[in-house]
């Protein structure tokens, strides 16, 4: 066998095996962790009401079901881009979502709920005036309270990616209450007496599965659902997961029509209409601009504090007494090794247990500063070390003291060396601000996620990407120009 044909065979085998593992012909996306609809049991297997339901549907259609874990706000784009066939996650049927995606007939009648800490004196929505309330990004709870907030005067609506992080913040007291789907909440707190559901909020919402608009599979799935309701399978799921009998009038028991958009024709599912939809763009622009403001503020704060910290660390490392120098080096090495996302979560969730409350902004700024400081310190150190020792000697010989040597001679030269890498670091910090969305910071990415879940359309994400690009591309070009200019200056 020649080498080439061997390689070809290996590639072919690889293709064939990957084809075999892709036998799943029904790819389902679900926000795993959404109890009791889809979550992991002790063995790590995906279980839940909707998991059982979709597996049964797959069986009836003779299709293999593969479930992949996708955050709630990413489910709609996943359906629209064809990465998944069906999205599940106790998704409420709404008119706005119907304009972009297709639903099959609903199978659960739900409501929202307000959950608080057991020790809290909040007993209803009316007590939330001026308080902070948590919701899931782009969920019906988010939509409902945003629309009805004029009535309740809530101080701040903070958006989370799922139930667990939101409940952690209810527990730590960072938020006063959590508005979310009632079945999930009741299931989650059944063994947690330190939480209580204090109000059921009737929204008339119904859960269903989402498919791409125009996907012929939707009718087949709908028909299977009809059968499953008639045979009592769905009602049985209700009994096994909630331990109660569903109401005969509910969509869990009775067959209902597939929901359709009431607007004429709905949205065209064409590529441009899906990924760059002007209506969606206009609707989501206020959200995106508010997010941009937060991103810029967080970026600027972290960059400025990181510069100061980095300069200090570099000075200590280069000129401090030995133990301080070693400590500085350790700091720099440690914070360059920690994934910023991990640090962000630690800084956000750990201090409350020590009685320190950091706002999401403060936590994000601290985490970004800690890491940016470490990188900046290395940049400054390299910059200062790039200055020939003769510059220090000439300064000493002229009688300049340490402060003037640094301020007048060394730093102005070091800054030329460090400006390009510092600008690169600024670009990285601004990009890293997007990670702050995990601690419910309403930054650009978070707002785009919220907007795309509200609209069930990925346009806001595309626009957010364009905004990041417009922000950072000029900086990238600037770095290139500066590097070229300084290279020329030194080669003179």
């Amino acid at each position: 066998m020649t080498r080439l044909s061997f390689i070809t065979s290996v590639c072919l085998i690889g293709l064939l095996t990957s084809e075999a593992t892709r036998a799943a012909d029904l790819t389902v996306g679900a926000n795993i962790g959404n109890v009791p609809w889809e979550f992991q049991d002790e063995n790590g297997d995906y279980v839940g009401f909707e998991i059982d339901l979709v597996n049964q549907i797959g069986d009836r259609l003779g299709m293999n079901v593969e479930i992949i874990n996708i955050p709630f706000s990413g489910l709609f784009s996943a359906v629209q881009s064809g990465r998944i066939d069906i999205a599940l996650s106790s998704i409420t049927v709404t008119e706005r979502r119907l304009e972009s995606v297709a639903f099959v007939q609903p199978y659960y009648d739900s409501a929202q709920s307000l959950t608080v800490d057991s020790d809290s004196n909040i007993s209803s929505l009316a007590d939330l005036q001026g308080r902070v309330v948590a919701v899931d990004t782009g969920s019906t709870g988010d939509m409902w309270i945003t629309e009805n907030n004029a009535r309740y005067g809530i101080g701040e609506i903070r958006r989370f990616e799922g139930l667990v992080p939101a409940m952690l913040d209810v527990q730590s007291g960072r938020v006063d209450g959590y508005i979310s789907d009632i079945p999930g909440l009741e299931y989650f707190i059944r063994d947690k007496p330190y939480f209580k559901v204090v109000q059921r909020i009737e929204t008339g919402e119904r859960y269903s599965m989402v498919l791409a608009e125009g996907n012929p599979l939707a009718d087949q799935v709908n028909d299977v659902l009809t059968e499953l309701k008639r045979s009592g399978f769905v009602a049985e799921l209700h009994r096994s997961w909630f331990g109660s009998e569903p109401l005969a009038s509910s969509s869990t028991v009775s067959v209902v029509d597939r929901p359709r958009s009431t607007s004429v024709g709905g949205r065209d599912a064409g590529f441009a209409q899906t990924f760059l939809n002007w209506g969606v763009l206009l609707n989501s622009m206020p959200l995106l601009l508010a997010g941009l403001r937060v991103t810029l503020l967080l970026g600027a704060t972290s960059i400025a504090c990181g510069l100061a910290l980095g300069l200090f660390l570099a000075m200590v490392r280069l000129y401090g007494v030995r133990p301080a120098g070693v400590a500085s080096k350790m700091y720099i090495d440690i914070f360059r090794s920690i994934p910023i996302l991990v640090l962000l979560i630690v800084v956000y969730y750990a201090p409350p247990f020590a009685g320190i409350q950091l706002s999401a902004f403060a936590a994000a700024a601290v985490a970004l500063t800690l890491v940016s400081g470490a990188y900046t310190a290395e940049i400054f150190r390299a910059g200062i070390e790039a200055i020939p020792s003769g510059q220090f000697e000439a300064s000493h010989a002229l009688g300049l003291n340490y402060r003037h040597t640094m301020l007048d001679v060394i730093l102005p030269q070091a800054i030329r060396v460090v400006i390009p890498p510092l600008t690169n670091n600024c670009i990285n910090v601004i990009k890293d601000t997007a990670l702050a969305s995990v601690v419910a910071m309403p930054d650009l990415l978070k707002q785009a996620n919220q907007a795309q879940a509200l609209e069930a359309n990925p346009t806001p994400l595309i626009v957010a990407a364009l905004i990041y690009l417009a922000l950072l591309w000029p900086l990238v070009i600037l770095v290139g120009r500066l590097e070229k200019r300084f290279r020329q200056e030194y080669s003179q």
Binding site: G390, A394, A397, L398, G399, V409
Partner: protein, 242 residues
């Protein structure tokens, strides 16, 4: 005559190597002293110690105008230094290079510092380059700026560490001319050099160093024409036969 520089038993080790093995030297006001010798003989280390660019043995003593330099940092301000590699500040104009220390160390007004700079730039012949940056000047011009920069602090003694060694041959003359003028005007100078012609012509005293010690010192004619020691003779013969 009073001693501006007084060195007693100057010793310095680099590891186990004796860079300076007990040097004694007095330099009087207005005197021009040239130090010659093979490389590694301790010439540069000697003048770097005078400016505290190197530390040295505790038993040694270096005094500038009667002040022990290890006791009083300000003694350094009385010593000007010119380096082999110029060490100008590349981000400052020629004028700024010269006025920086007078402004920052002597707290002079801009006007005073500029007046001194103008005077010195004229003296070393670089007045036309005042607003240029070091990288725009030739090596000879840069070294003349370095001399003016050191002189701006009005030092009691000027140290030169092989000031022409890094220069292209055609630029050596212009720097030596400036140094010759300085010597004539009465500036106290200690010069480490390989320019034997300059040493013979300008020095009041020539010192021959080898292996971290002063082997022989005397008038230029004595060192170059009738050295007392064999090592001095070998060195002078080797250098002058070029």
């Amino acid at each position: 005559m009073s001693a501006i520089v007084s060195i007693k038993n100057l010793r310095k080790q680099f590891g186990s190597f004796d860079a300076l093995a007990g040097v004694n030297l007095q330099i009087n006001e207005g005197e021009v002293v040239c130090i010659v010798g093979p490389s590694g003989s301790g010439k540069s280390t000697l003048i770097r110690c005078i400016n505290q660019l190197e530390d040295f043995d505790d038993s040694s003593e270096v005094k500038i105008a009667g002040i022990d330099i290890t006791q009083d940092e300000t003694a350094r301000a009385d010593v000007g230094m010119v380096f082999q590699s110029f060490n100008l500040f590349p981000h400052m104009t020629i004028r700024e290079n010269i006025t920086l220390a007078p402004l920052r160390v002597k707290q002079m007004s801009e006007q005073q510092a500029n007046a001194i700079a103008d005077d010195l730039m004229q003296k070393v012949g670089i007045e036309a380059q005042a607003e240029k940056y070091p990288s725009q000047l030739s090596g000879g011009q840069q070294q003349r700026v370095a001399i003016a920069r050191a002189l701006a602090m009005r030092p009691r003694v000027m140290l030169f560490d092989e000031p022409t060694s890094a220069l292209d041959p055609e630029m050596v003359g212009e720097v030596l001319d400036v140094m010759r003028d300085l010597a004539r005007s009465g500036v106290t100078m200690l010069v480490v050099t390989h320019e034997m012609g300059f040493a013979r012509q300008v020095a009041d005293r020539v010192i021959f160093m080898d292996e971290g010690k002063i082997v022989e010192a005397g008038k230029p004619a004595q060192i170059f024409d009738g050295p007392a020691h064999q090592r001095t003779r070998d060195f002078v013969n080797a250098v002058l036969q070029h």
